[in-house]
């Protein structure tokens, strides 16, 4: 091959293709014709063929450090971790507005009320994590059960939960105590603080519930103010709390910018007891709500496993419906 000669320069790409065994027929023909008359290019073709041969040998030769065992094992572990963190979510309409449910391999990780339209807020996206993907099939069954629950056809959501989005161990304890509140029961923020052995931590309890990643499922709507006022829910949407409680048989009366549970209309139990009473039994009405658990109906109290008090006999003298 003569570097100066335009014919040799022009044939070079074809010559490389022929050497690599990837030339089309026309190119091969051109190269054959050229090397028949050009000794330099004939030699160069042989050189490139030999070079291809060297590379072929190199390609098939074993490589140093070609041991993927460690990388495969680490990959398996990281993939398994990623899978367990990966959240699939669905967004759907419900009687309480647009709701997002997210689930991981471990269980339901997230329930969030969404505004009627618009993109997900930064807060929700942070909770979902960067690996979240929309996965309607994975959340369809949950959606159906949640709607049944919100329409009063189902009293339990027996979902495995993924509690890794808890902000702290304190929040986990608060939410576990809240999850133990029976369907149709209410207590106060101070009541939850007392249950977790931190009776002074009423505000921290309220904060922990405010950031509940699993509202409805972990029933923070069953936790109210010491006065019976509902106080707050899902930002400023206290009406959602009122509706959830109404579905469970807890009646409320409208108060200024809020709703209130009327203690005199609630079956009442000292937390930790096994019997429920009418509110006028003994000195119950003078006890702070933090020591009590209230039920809207006898059915709910008995469904939760409690018996009517043998002195005030709520079974014989029920509260007016």
């Amino acid at each position: 091959m003569s570097p100066q000669h335009p014919l040799c320069r022009a044939i070079e790409p074809d010559l490389l293709s022929v050497a690599a065994g990837e030339a089309e027929t026309a190119a091969a023909g051109r190269v054959e014709a050229h090397v028949a008359t050009c000794g330099l290019c004939r030699e160069e073709l042989a050189n490139y063929r030999a070079l291809e041969g060297m590379m072929d040998t190199l390609r098939r030769a074993p490589l140093r450090d070609d041991d993927a065992t460690l990388a495969r094992a680490q990959l398996a572990s990281r993939l398994s971790d990623l899978r367990s963190r990966l959240v699939g979510f669905g967004i759907f309409p419900s009687p309480l507005g647009r709701i997002l449910i997210g689930r991981s391999e471990q269980g339901v990780a997230l329930v969030q009320y969404l505004p009627a339209d618009g993109a997900l807020s930064a807060h929700v996206r942070r909770l979902l994590g960067e690996d979240a993907v929309e996965d309607l099939p994975a959340t369809e069954g949950l959606r159906a059960e949640l709607v049944d629950y919100l329409e009063g056809r189902r009293a339990r959501l027996d979902w495995p939960l993924d509690l890794r989005r808890m902000r702290s161990d304190f929040q986990r304890r608060v939410l576990e105590a809240t999850a133990a509140l029976p369907y149709g029961a209410v207590t106060s923020y101070a009541g939850i603080a007392a249950r977790i052995g931190a009776p002074a931590a009423v505000r921290p309890v309220a904060q922990a519930l405010r950031w509940n990643p699993l509202p409805i499922v972990i029933p923070c709507h069953r936790v109210i103010g010491g006065s019976g006022a509902l106080i707050g829910y899902a930002g400023r949407r206290v009406e959602l709390k009122q509706r959830l409680l109404a579905v469970e048989g807890v009646k409320t009366v409208a108060a200024r910018n809020d709703f209130k549970v009327d203690r005199e209309a609630m079956y009442t139990m000292v937390t930790g007891d096994r019997e429920y009473c009418v509110p006028t039994c003994g000195s119950l009405l003078s006890k702070p709500l933090s020591e009590l658990t209230l039920f809207g109906t006898r059915d709910r109290a008995e469904a939760a496993g409690f018996a009517p008090c043998t002195s005030c006999r709520p079974d014989l003298h029920p509260l007016p419906a």
Binding site: E12, P13, A50, T57, L70, A71, R78, D135
Partner: protein, 179 residues
């Protein structure tokens, strides 16, 4: 459920391609530890994107694209290019040269070949390794390097010419070409 099936399918993807992708990354980084890290990262990224991959996609070429991008970012971020190139000639050498096919590999020529590959500019080197060591199609190489099939071919040809030139006077070619 759809996801479970996708995950099982992904296990098969790892099984089929991890070793080769790691070998590719080993060739371009010349370091076993980098190949370990980047091959894991390749498959973690692939796992996240796998469900969005259209059915019937060329998974192998897609993995090469992810690995290539990670490899390029790695060099860019770490500024390790020079060092890797310098190391390449040493570390890419096989422990046991394969001479079963009767090739007479002159050691010095092979050293020069490896050094020449190590000294190629980025895209030419990646294109060359993808083509000559992993036998990818030019279109697949183009997709990996975000360029056209023609550009990919041109990168490989430019690389070939440079490698060829580096072997001037050191190739045992006369003997082979006359045999």
């Amino acid at each position: 459920m759809g996801r479970v099936m996708a995950e099982d399918a992904f296990e098969a993807v790892v099984g089929a391609h991890h070793a080769e992708i790691r070998r590719y990354l080993l060739r371009i980084t010349a370091r076993g530890s980098d190949a370990d890290d980047l091959s894991q990262e390749t498959f973690l990224r692939a796992f996240r994107a796998y469900r969005a991959l259209p059915p019937g996609s060329n998974v192998r070429a897609w993995l090469f694209t992810i690995a290539t991008n990670l490899g390029r970012n790695h060099f860019r971020a770490q500024g390790r290019r020079r060092r890797a190139y310098a190391a390449a000639a040493m570390e890419m050498r096989p422990d046991a040269p394969d001479r079963a096919d009767g090739h007479v590999m002159v050691e010095e020529a092979r050293d020069r070949l490896e050094r020449a590959v190590g000294e190629l500019p980025g895209k030419q080197r990646l294109a060359f390794i993808m083509r000559k060591m992993h036998e990818l199609e030019y279109a697949e190489i183009g997709a990996s390097l975000s360029c056209s099939e023609e550009s990919a071919r041109a990168h490989v040809f430019q690389a070939l010419r440079k490698v060829r030139r580096s072997l001037d006077g050191h190739l045992p070619l006369e003997m082979e070409s006359r045999s």
